[in-house]
Amino acid sequence: MAVVGPGIITAFADNDAGGVATYSVAASKFGYPILFTIIPITIVLLITQEIGSRIAVVTGKGLGDLIREHFGIRISVLIFSLLFFVNFGVIIQNIGGLKDGLALFNLNLWIFLPVVIGSLFLFITRASYAKVEKFFLFLIVFYFAYFISAVLAKPDWEQVGKSVVIPPSKISFEFLYTSIAVLGTTVTAWGQFFINSYVKDKKLTVDKLKYNRFEIYVGSFLTNLFSLFMMVAVAATVFANKVQITGAADAALAIKPFAGDLASVLFGAGLLVAGFIGAAIVPLATAYAFSEFFGYEGSLDVSFSKSRLFYGFFIFQVLLGVVAVSIPGMSLFDITLYADFLNGIFLPVIIFFLYKFVNDRDLMGKYVNSKLQNVILISCGVAISIGALVGGIGSAFGM
């Protein structure tokens, strides 16, 4: 049990509010055929997460520590600034998701958003490490909402099964771009930093590597299973009835006439939880990275007074995010696209660092990557960069 946490929590946090939005929109556009992306995404996620975690277990260092020690201060400042910027987009996505989720349930934004954010802050700063971890593990239960929504949507399960394993008969340019977006929302730059810091913070040692790897596989598998249900729920209702949606809250509403109130409520509840997890974990990832890059004490294991900068950094980002979503006329749909796109072009940079460190024999000893792992790692780096670039240019020119 001692190893449970990093793999599962990071994997589920990858299905944050932005993830729910991207998956919903993708399923509403393409229906069942988009399900074919699930298996490749699971593989890419579990391979990248496993590598990140293995580096942390073997070296006892986070990605930030390693970049700083091997590439110096200037590169560190650059990478950190990029990470901050990209993560900030993701934070806005999640707080925006929270906002939409609250609106779905007709909860007053100006009362509940501060309450949710306030309790989040108190919880992260006051509760012990073990409690924070347990709480996040508990939240994952809410993802079952997607499973129930999917069942209520009465999909054609045979069709679902076939779509997962059989490639779609024609693959359009837009389909390809959407697939990359879905991949980019699940395999994230911050996720790579986060799992690394988390494993380090948990003080796992090499003899636990086997269990740690297993836990990561389980996490990747489960989180993508829920993504699958999410897409099934949307594909069976919204797509089948040719409704246009632009976000997750839209999807929750669009499901209602076809799958009933309960399915719609559960879908909305899932969005709320996803937003909450994302709004907590992404700023944490930045705070961890900051303390690694610049050497200030930072860990969930240290009390608030000792780690003021760490927690301060956390709060600062969340508040900035709240301010950003409160600006009238801010389009969350645009932000989602922008954040996914930034993440898409930043991720290959992170993959480059992972590749460097995991193949460094001085650092990793006998735990360096195998040839196959390297091939997969490099091909996802390349695929994501091409996808992000082509997709980004495509959407910029309104294609």
Binding site: G60, G72, I73, L204, T205, D207, F294, G295, Y296
Partner: protein, 405 residues
């Protein structure tokens, strides 16, 4: 004094003004006075070389070297400023925390004849310096009243967490670390990896090392003992508190545990084996087998001299346990009572005969309640009829509770 950030990547020329390459690194001897020995210069992608410091003619402003210098390789005892110190984590021994080296200050002595590392800069201004923003931001600093706070640590006050280049260790040694509280050092060591942790711990005095190990996270304890040679492991196990030793032994694989136990002395081995056996019971894991016991028929002054002799080994003993001739527990009194009684008074006259005890089967919560009810810091653990095998202390109980919180 100047900073490494100001030197690095500058062009090195000889006294004919012919460029030799860019300065990439400085090599130094990690001793009491960390003298800079060589400049490391990169000519192009393929060629790099080291220039001995004695061939340097100028370093501030331009870097000029003698035209007839001899290229050298890195010597075995030399460390690299850029690879072994800069950007690395160090322990700020005085301030008691782990920090990252942002820049390194170099001091010149006797008009540039010799250079050595004065210390490291761990502050934010050093980060600005790398971007050539330190000087432009000085007015801002002054405005915010932050200017007078440099974050500079002198060489004597730091200890690199990563001590080795290949097999060479910093000569500075780890003795400085023993100035710290072992609990604090344990916290800092948890910030590095097992390899470095192992190196540092192996350099410490055994008693001190044992205290540090007691405070490490259990995963690290296990990992360390898996790496130790049996000889080193058994020495440390001897130095640890028996209950801690048992905790660690129990996390190790069976073969490793037996190997360590076998290399211990017979007395210690049996003691630990008993404790391991008891550890399956409810209070078992908390039992500490070290306590001070005396015979009931001796006098207060005799008792006092026994205590004087034994106390250094049991510094935390708060009670003296009294045994009869069959070595069964018949009484107890707090250590401080010895001060109250006449020297010739026999112990059985003033000891408490109604001893509050726990058995191996006593649940932990009951044991804790007894401690609180009777206000006792430790309870004796007895087996069979009144044979005492150890004590459960309030401290260990608290640790147990802390883990649950």
């Amino acid at each position: 004094m100047f900073y490494f950030s100001e030197l690095v990547n500058r062009v090195v020329v000889n006294d004919n003004n012919k460029p030799l390459g860019k300065l990439k690194d400085l090599l130094f001897l990690a001793e009491e006075i960390p003298t800079i020995t060589k400049l490391y210069v990169r000519k192009n992608k393929k060629k790099s070389f080291a220039i001995p410091i004695k061939d340097i003619k100028e370093i501030n402003g331009r870097i000029v070297v003698n035209r007839d210098f001899v290229e050298k390789d890195i010597a075995e005892r030399e460390f690299s400023l850029a690879k072994n110190l800069l950007n690395r984590q160090i322990i700020d021994v005085k301030g008691g925390k782990v920090v990252r080296v942002n820049d390194i200050a170099i001091q010149d002595k006797e008009e540039g004849a010799e250079y050595y590392i004065a210390g490291v800069d761990v502050g934010f201004r050093a980060i600005l310096r790398w971007f050539k923003l330190e000087k432009p931001t000085i007015p801002l600093y002054k405005l915010l009243n932050l200017y007078s706070r440099p974050n500079f640590l002198s060489w004597g006050d730091i200890e690199p967490l990563e001590l080795a280049r290949g097999t060479v260790q910093l000569k500075k040694g780890v003795a400085d670390l023993e100035r710290m509280r072992p609990e604090d050092l344990a916290d800092y060591l948890e910030k590095t990896n097992i390899r470095n942790m192992n190196k540092i711990i192996s350099g410490l005095d055994e008693e001190y090392a044992a205290n540090v190990i007691e405070d490490l996270n259990v995963n690290y304890q296990t990992a360390l003992f898996k790496r130790f040679q049996p000889e080193q492991a058994s020495k440390l196990i001897e130095a640890l508190e028996p209950d801690e030793a048992v905790d660690i032994l129990l996390t190790l694989p069976r073969e490793k545990r037996i190997e360590i136990l076998d290399s211990l002395g017979a007395r210690k081995r049996n003691e630990l084996k008993d404790l391991i056996k008891y550890s399956r019971t409810s209070v078992g894991k908390l039992i500490n087998s070290e306590f001070i016991s005396i015979n009931s028929e001796i006098t207060a002054s005799e008792a006092l001299s026994i205590v004087r002799e034994k106390l250094p080994e049991h510094p935390f003993a708060s009670y003296i346990y009294v045994m009869n001739n069959e070595n069964l527990l018949v009484g107890v009194f707090p250590l401080s009572n010895l001060l109250l009684h006449e020297g010739d008074e026999p112990v059985f006259k003033f000891m408490e005969q109604d001893v509050i005890v726990v058995h191996l089967t006593t649940p932990k919560t009951i044991a804790l309640k007894r401690m609180l009810k009777y206000r006792l810091y430790a309870l004796p653990v007895i087996v069979d009829s009144k044979r005492m095998i150890g004590v459960v202390t309030f401290d260990d109980m608290m640790e147990e509770i802390e883990e649950k919180l």
